[in-house]
Each structure stands twice: as C-alpha cells, then as structure tokens.
C-alpha cells in the first residue's frame, strides 16, 4: 500500500499530476476531493491536525488498476 508520511502540524502542499487520463484524489476524513487532469498540476494543501492514519484513493473510475489507486496518509507527532 502506498504511504505518505506527514508530521503533525507541519503544512504540506501535494502536487498531483497525471500522464494518462483524469484521476481523482479523495481523502474523505479531510473533506479533500480533487480532480487531477492531464496537463495540469493539482495542488492540495494539508495541515495535519491530528496524529493517525487516513485513507486516500482515486475517486474517478479510471479503468484497469483503479482499485489499486489507494493508500494511507500517516500523520506522526
């Protein structure tokens, strides 16, 4: 599983791009729901407010392998 490690309280900006087709980046627990379009950079700012593990996934059905496009954001103190 893909993991993104963040530090509690330390803001980050994720730059998301796609080389094939439209995808999505959803973190339900943070109310983040962004589209990632070919040829564009999608920037997502996260300020980890509490320690723990959050799930993210692609929420645009993108074909074979879509179900594998998921991972965890691990926030540590």
């Amino acid at each position: 599983m893909r993991r993104l490690h963040l530090k509690l309280g330390e803001p980050v900006v994720l730059e998301l791009t796609t080389v094939d087709r439209k995808h999505g980046f959803q973190v339900s627990d943070l109310n983040i729901d962004e589209s990632i379009e070919p040829g564009k950079v999608t920037r997502v700012r996260i300020v980890p407010a509490k320690a723990g593990t959050l799930l993210f996934h692609c929420d645009v059905f993108c074909g074979s392998g879509h179900e594998e496009m998921a991972g965890e954001i691990v926030v540590k103190p």
């Binding site: 999505g24 339900s28 799930l55 996934h57 929420d59 059905f61 993108c62 074909g63 074979s64 998921a70």
Partner: protein, 312 residues
C-alpha cells in the same frame, strides 16, 4: 405461490415495518397465497450482482464458470421468479473498447440461458465509467429507467456512468418527475449499483450526490433500495428507506473499513464459492412487506443453491 415468501406471519409479528430480520426460518411455511380482494398473488424476483464477466485473477480461479453456475442455480429454483435484475458490474472493466463489447456479448449469451424471460439490467462502474455508458446502452439499453410490476413501482438509477460516481441533476429531475404521480404510500423499489448513502467513502463505497436522491425519496413512505458494488450482504436504513446490498458472483470483499485496504477476500480452495450468491426478494400481497432470502453458491457444485443463510 410458496417458496421464499413463507415468513410473513413472523415478519408481521416482529413489526419493524417494511423489511425485517427473520433469520433461520427458510422453508418454514409453504402456505400458498391466493388472489384476494382484487390483489394479485405474492411474487418474487431475483437480484444478481457484480458478476464481473471477464475477470481473471487469484480471488476467483473459477471465474470463467461462476456466472454459468449462478444461471444454473437460478434455473434450479423450485419456482420461476417474475424477473431477475442484475445490479451492475455485469462485466469486469477493460481499457480495450473491443474487449469491452466482447465481454458484454459473452455475458448476454450466458444469461440467455436463464429460464426466466424477463431480465433487467443496469451498469456498474466497470461497465460504464470509461465510456459514459455507451457500450452498455448498445448491448443492454438505457442506464436509468422505471417500470411497474404487479403494483410496485421500480426505478433504476445510474450512479456509475459518471466516472466520479454522481447521479447528476438531470437524472434526479427525471426521478422526481417519475415518482411525482405516485401517492406518498406507494410501494417503490430502487435498483442502483453504488450505495446511495455514505457507507464507506474512504473505500469509494458511496455516491457523490446520493444524499440528494435519498432526500428526494424520503417523500415516499415505502421505499426500498437494492444495490451491489460492495460484494457482500449489507443492510442499512436512512430514515424510512431500507438499503440492501447483495453478495457478488465473482469474489467477496471485506466488511466496510474492517482492514486498511479494500482488497478481495482471498480465495479458499476448500470453499471456492464462499461469499458468492444471489438474493430472492419476495413481495407479499400488500406490496409493503419484502422478504429477502440470501442464496449461496457454496458447497453445491452450484447445481442447486445452498440453504439460505437468513432472510429479511
């Protein structure tokens, strides 16, 4: 008509209203219900879901046979259902458009062996999200529609042709216009693929604008939703609306958020069809009590369905 309708008396006693749990009584009653007071007899239909024709992989090494086994099992039911409904993901996704059409043709040829002549279809995201439902419509017809059957209004909602899992305002407007002539106590059954409520958005088990559909449906008192997508039996209520997910016919998935990753339950060679099955839904003469019977493909060679695990 007898068979899956037998638990009605206990159901009424339990009195949860609409659809209730009545476990372990499968086959306890064979009372035949006859036409009375101008009403037609009880009837039942069968829900099959998530057949994923074309899937290949370790979660189901028998995938090339499972759909045929399900067809044989439904054909072997003691009585023929009034209709069968496939609640999406008829085929497994492929990026190859030609292969997508081929899988749909193959699926259609296999289910043509069902004895029941009336078959209702709707897409899942695997069928429709890559081409906005184009191939599906070519092979199976509209992705959303409604029909009436023996006093029940059925509405089929498409929450997959939009790859972002939205129903869309145009379809919601259609739904409202479709239901508007019905009285508030009309029995309504909704078929859809994804859950309309937020079952587990972290696993993509939700519909983006599902709350709009639920808000709309709340204006009617007797609404039941049958859906698929999550590859397991699941029951939930939002207000007066009952939501029932069906088992799949390809591989089971774990309980919502029960593990970090949404991954198929590993195939067990000792129980190769565990977690695979279909559902019989019987409707009593009032049209307000639905009884659910979950049938398993396990342990039978699928020539006959296994004993029911419970009913609602």
């Amino acid at each position: 008509m007898n068979g899956p309708k037998g638990r009605r008396e206990l159901i009424k006693l339990l009195g949860f209203g609409g659809v209730v749990f009545a476990s372990g009584l499968a086959g306890a009653c064979t009372k035949i219900l006859r036409k009375s007071g101008g009403r037609e007899d009880d009837f039942f239909f069968v829900q099959l879901s998530d057949t994923h024709w074309g899937f290949k992989g370790p979660p189901n090494p028998e995938a090339a046979n499972t759909l045929r086994q399900a067809v044989r099992a439904v054909n072997a039911l003691p009585q023929e259902p009034d209709f069968v409904v496939f609640t999406g993901d008829l085929t497994h996704t492929t990026d190859d458009e030609g292969e997508r059409h081929k899988r749909m043709r193959e699926f259609k040829a296999i289910v043509a062996d069902l004895k029941v002549p009336v078959r209702r279809y709707m897409p899942g995201e695997h069928d429709a999200s890559l081409d906005q439902g184009k191939a599906f419509q070519e092979h199976f017809g509209a992705t959303h529609y409604s029909f009436d059957h023996k006093g029940i209004h059925f509405a089929v909602l498409d929450n997959v042709s939009d790859a972002q899992a939205a129903i869309g305002d145009a379809q919601l407007d259609w739904l409202l216009a479709d239901l508007k002539p019905l009285p508030a106590d009309a029995p309504i059954v909704v078929f859809t693929h994804r859950p309309l409520f937020d079952l587990a958005p972290q696993w993509d088990w939700a519909t983006k604008d599902g709350s709009k559909a639920i808000d709309l449906l709340q204006h009617w008192k007797n609404v039941t939703v049958f859906y698929g997508h999550i590859h397991q039996e699941h029951h939930f209520r939002t207000g007066a609306i009952a939501h029932h997910a069906a088992q799949s016919l390809i591989f089971p998935l774990p309980a919502p958020l029960s593990q970090p990753k949404r991954a198929p339950v590993p195939w067990d060679p000792a129980h190769p069809r565990r977690g695979l099955g279909y559902r019989e839904v019987s409707v009593d003469e009032s049209r307000l009590v639905l009884t659910l019977k979950e049938d398993s493909l396990e342990g039978t060679g699928a020539a006959q369905p296994a004993a029911a695990s419970g009913s609602y």
